[in-house]
């Protein structure tokens, strides 16, 4: 989760520092992660990448507190000579777009540089999906010569000194040797040519989305003017990202200059003119349950950074999250105050209903608890080594991709987890009488399901030390309690003693087994006491 730390001194310039400050900030849609005497750490929700900087947060706060309400305006100066970027057609299937701008009049110090790099990195991980979707480069203008070319080159034809390296590397070497190269090399997989930004003197500025050049791509406290580019495949996201960066730099005192980007079509960037969207006051009131009037909207919308006039909302060009009218309506609710809403419950009659499976399950557990059995609740996933212990066949195994723990497969029955629990409780007082009700998984060979997996609700009972008679008594009790008849047929079952194991049939349907565990299997599990078990498919036996 992305967070930003803001000094309370800065906050105090907009609002009073009251004890409920954190709560008030949370009500603006910006949860507070932590707070101390000097600063507040905010958590930036994924829908608000424009708040990933101190400047972004202050912009929201200034509007909300009434200090600077409404849509914030930024001046964009026309491009000067050679303020051009040409996107080569060789990038068409590699990285087809870039959005660029220049910002001047900057005064950097180490902490400001860190702020900018932080913002860049946070945008990379959030909006940029770890640079997969987009990457951002910022370069000192004095070190480069305009115009710029964005093109694709064979890795061996790329050679420059990347940031934090003491010598020139080729494109391939960067992926192998540079830390950023290694981290993001997956993004270049299957590419025979890599994208590079090149200046008018032929100097390589960077190889996105991996790394900038040490010579032309490093901001220092002496830097006054910067060239900014965002590259990727989704033009819309790139534009928004560029807008977030240039407005942040403008809030630091910078002057924005636009550039002409030619990606087959020439476009002047950045475009900070607001998006427009219709807002119906009826829709606002219907969705929020309020009775707002036109005048209320005129007051509320500027509080959350919009301009509003006659049913039309002007949306900041750096907001990425406004897809639909409802997104603006939520902001109206935020401006109104989540703490000011009335709590109402409509008087609608609906009929409550428990699912039949739940009903039968709670009756079964009631009956078994009455016999003194203890319910356990185990994971739906099992370990690979347990499949070996239980001698599972391949067709019983349903594996998950890339599990981070040793639990890697869906359980085929509840017998297996019950044995695990018995083995883990060796040191607890005996007897152990346990049961579990839960879902088990098998492959759906008839392909009736959307998922190809068949799920059944199952019941397992395990007692230790115990014997066949005790378990059969329990089975008797359970079937009598549900007015069912059953019949046992001797069966051979892996892990259970022959002649002491049977399939359970009700109405000629096979619905489970009862049996005494074989010492061989118990030894595998490290269980020292005799175990008897029953496992029943609830659907089959109780017709739920």
């Amino acid at each position: 989760m992305a967070t930003v730390k803001i000094s309370k001194k800065l906050i105090a310039q907009c609002v009073k520092l009251t004890p409920d400050l954190a709560e008030r900030i949370s009500l603006m849609g910006i949860p507070v992660e932590s707070e101390n005497a000097e600063e507040i750490e905010i958590e930036v929700l994924p829908n608000r990448p424009d708040v990933l900087s101190i400047q972004g947060f202050l912009r929201v706060l200034k509007a909300y507190s009434g200090k600077e309400p409404g849509l914030k305006k930024y001046k964009v100066n026309a491009p000067e000579k050679n303020y051009k970027v040409k996107v080569d057609s060789s990038l068409k299937d590699i990285r087809p777009y870039t959005c660029c701008a220049i910002v001047k009049n900057l005064k950097f110090d180490d902490s400001k540089i860190k702020e900018i790099i932080d913002l860049q990195e946070k945008l990379h991980t959030t909006l940029g999906r770890n640079r997969k979707k987009l990457a951002i480069g910022i370069y000192p203008l004095e070190k480069i010569t305009l115009p710029i070319r964005f093109e694709a080159r064979k890795p061996q034809d790329i050679k420059f000194r990347p940031l934090e390296m003491d010598r020139d590397l080729t494109g391939l070497e960067i992926l192998q040797k540079h830390p950023a190269g290694r981290t993001y090399s997956d993004l270049m997989k299957n590419l025979d040519r890599y994208p590079v930004f090149v200046d008018a003197m032929g100097k390589i500025l960077s190889m996105p989305p991996i790394i900038n050049s040490h010579e032309t791509g490093k901001i220092t406290p002496e830097t006054r003017e910067v060239f900014i580019e965002c590259s990727g495949s989704n033009l819309e996201s790139l534009k928004k990202t560029l807008n977030i960066i240039v407005t942040t730099l403008a809030d630091m005192g910078g002057k924005i200059f636009s550039m002409e980007v030619d990606y087959g079509k020439k476009e002047i960037m950045p475009d900070l003119s607001p998006d427009k969207m219709k807002l119906s006051i009826d829709n606002v009131n219907a969705l929020l349950g309020l009775k707002l009037k036109e005048g209320d909207l005129q007051k509320l919308l500027p509080k959350v950074g919009y301009d509003y006039s006659k049913g039309k909302v002007s949306i900041p060009a750096w907001r990425t999250d406004i897809l639909h009218e409802v997104d603006i309506i939520e902001d109206v609710a935020i401006a109104y105050g989540y703490d000011k809403f009335e709590y109402t419950i409509p008087k609608v009659a609906t009929i409550a209903e428990e699912s039949p499976m739940t009903k039968i399950q709670s009756k079964i557990s009631q009956a078994l608890a009455g016999l003194g059995l203890l319910e356990i609740s185990t994971y739906h996933l099992i370990k690979e080594e347990e499949c070996v212990k239980a001698k599972l066949k391949d067709e019983q195994k349903i594996e998950l991709e890339n599990s981070k723990t040793e639990y890697k497969l869906l359980r085929p029955n509840l017998t297996l987890p019950a044995l695990r629990i018995l083995s883990e409780n060796k040191d607890n007082e005996y007897p152990h009488k346990i049961f579990e009700i839960g879902t088990v998984f098998s492959l759906d060979r008839n392909q009736n399901s959307e998922t190809g997996i068949r799920e059944m609700e199952s019941l397992v009972i395990a007692c230790s030390p115990s014997n066949f008679t005790e378990l059969k008594q329990i089975l008797d009790y359970l079937t009598r309690a549900f007015a069912l008849n059953y019949e046992l047929r001797e069966v051979k079952k892996e892990g259970f003693i022959e002649g002491r194991t049977g399939s359970i049939f009700t109405d000629k349907r096979e619905c489970g087994f009862i049996g005494e565990a074989h010492p061989d299997m118990l030894k595998q599990w490290g269980i020292k006491m005799p175990v008897c078990m029953i496992e029943i498919s609830i659907g089959e036996m109780f017709k739920a």
């Binding site: 929020l288 709590y343 109402t344 609906t350 428990e354 739940t358 319910e375 996933l381 981070k404 998922t451």
Partner: protein
């Protein structure tokens, strides 16, 4: 013997159990001898002594002794050298080995090898030069037994008798797997009180009735007396059968939903990405859809539902529906077919909405059950967790209703103080976070995630933008709060002792 003392003894005799009567004649002996002379087993003698302690006849002194002994691996290592010694011996005969080779040559498991390497490095006995392991220990270093080796040889030993260097070695070995076991044993002794000294050694015969038997009832006559019990005496514990405490809490949650008029949804835990993500307007490149967050099932491709719904969901993502801009990318059917185990119960809500008929409105549904995330396990994370969720599908519903339902639900869960703040979920707008006041900790705790489904969700599933209110509390967090459990793993550890002893869910 004066009169007063006489009556004390008489009073005492009236309360002596048969066990105590058998023990008293031998009270001047120590416990082992009492066992031998009385013909009782040790447990019974100890029980009798406890009873006598309650009567002021003796004072038990129970000394707990911690004994350090060899664990399974310890026994093996004592015979066959500690792994670090084996590695040293290997290097002594064959220096400058690459890591892999050194492990093979020493015959250590990967884990043993890692540990050994750490131990030897910290003692500066070996160093790694150009990926090769080289011996830097002196001859004397090699001959000397390490503290750990010395300790292993000294076991078993009482903890209190450990010398400082043994304690140090113990600390090191304790961290390693099953080398050491620490057992607690208690040793019981007793001393007689003044009263005890008077009574010890005497044969006390009484004719008080011990048990009420059918014969006692049949032959009852006045004048007979019952032995008086020590009703304060501890009795052995019994355990009842019961539901798992997590399921007790779930039952409570279900009851609340039912009381509020909701109908239970059930469905499979394995679902297609379509229901878990796509139908909920979660873009296909959203990070939550990656393998390191979600459990996808290997080698299975699912099927998509009704074509019409698929078409509408696709449109919703690509160019948007109902005035939405959509996500503006090419929606991929194959991605939606990937099968996973549900990451939230909302996967049931989306399926329910798709089945709903207009004549069924307004309608209220809830679901409760396990959900899954591909997480490592630690005190606050697990790969399985319980979630519950309710939805209200009502053409007239609004945010003020949502907050109303939430505050009512929260009251039923036992939280009277609730506040709301804005939040974000990909499929709701507006979104709400509900926080409840924890009086014990004096802080607000995030409990409810809530919101109104986006039109990009409702239009494809319901055919039109009907408001759907949705909310759910994180169940595991509530249970941890109620039971004051600090470690999430305890919820699913199935330690039978804990399951037997934990109080019933009492809400």
């Amino acid at each position: 013997m004066d009169h007063k003392e006489d009556s004390v003894l008489e009073e005492l005799a009236e309360r002596l159990s048969p066990l105590e009567q058998k023990v008293i004649p031998h009270l001047k002996l120590d416990i082992d001898k009492i066992v031998a002379k009385s013909g009782l087993d040790t447990t019974s003698v100890l029980r009798a002594l406890r009873f006598l302690e309650n009567k002021g006849i003796l004072r038990l002194n129970i000394k707990k002794v911690k004994i350090i002994d060899l664990g399974i691996n310890g026994i093996y290592y004592k015979k066959n050298h500690l792994p670090e010694r084996r590695l040293l011996l290997t290097l002594e005969s064959n220096n400058y080995l690459p890591l892999q080779k050194a492990q093979e040559a020493s015959g250590l498991s990967e884990n043993e090898f890692k540990v050994s390497l750490g131990v030897l490095k910290s003692k500066a006995f070996v160093s790694l030069i150009n990926g090769k392991l080289s011996l830097t220990a002196t001859k004397e270093d090699l001959v000397k037994k390490s503290l750990e080796e010395q300790l292993l040889e000294a076991l078993p030993i009482e903890y209190d008798k450990l010398a400082p260097e043994q304690l140090f070695a113990l600390d090191n070995l304790k961290k390693r797997k099953e080398i050491i076991v620490i057992e607690e044993r208690s040793e019981t002794g007793f001393e007689l009180t003044e009263l005890g000294k008077k009574i010890a050694g005497k044969e006390i015969k009484t004719d008080y009735i011990e048990e009420v038997t059918p014969e006692v009832i049949r032959d009852w006559s006045r004048g007979k007396k019952f032995r008086k019990y020590d009703i304060q005496a501890q009795v052995p514990r019994v355990y009842g059968g019961r539901k798992h405490f997590v399921n007790q809490a779930i039952d409570h949650g279900r009851k609340i939903w039912l009381e509020m008029g909701f109908k239970e949804m059930t469905g499979t835990k394995a679902v297609t990405s379509f229901w878990n993500f796509d139908a909920l307007f979660t873009a296909q490149d959203h990070p939550v859809r990656e393998m390191h967050d979600t459990f996808f099932v290997k080698n299975i491709k699912g099927k998509l539902p009704d074509k019409e719904i698929v078409k509408r969901v696709k449109e919703s993502h690509e160019q948007g529906v109902g005035g939405s801009k959509g996500w503006g990318y090419l929606w991929n059917e194959e991605t939606a077919k990937r099968v996973l185990i549900r990451t939230h119960t909302t996967a049931l809500s989306s399926q329910t909405l798709a089945k709903l008929k207009k004549k069924d409105l307004p309608a209220k549904y809830f679901a409760i059950g396990k959900c899954f995330r591909n997480e490592t396990v630690d005190w606050k994370h697990g790969f399985e967790f319980n979630q519950t969720e309710g939805i209200v599908i009502d053409p007239e519903a609004n945010l003020s209703n949502l907050l109303g339902y939430l505050s009512e639900f929260s009251k039923k869960m036992g939280f009277d103080k609730i506040r709301f703040q804005p939040s974000f979920f990909p499929y709701t707008e507006p979104s709400v976070e509900g926080l409840v006041w924890n009086e014990g900790k004096k802080e607000w705790i995030e409990v409810f995630a809530a919101g109104i489904f986006r039109p990009e969700v409702t239009i494809p599933l319901l055919g039109e933008p009907i408001p759907v209110l949705a909310w759910g509390p994180g169940f595991d967090r509530l249970m941890m709060m109620a039971y004051e459990i600090k470690d999430l793993r305890e919820l699913y550890s199935n330690d039978l002792k804990k399951l037997r002893d934990i109080p019933l869910w009492n809400k």
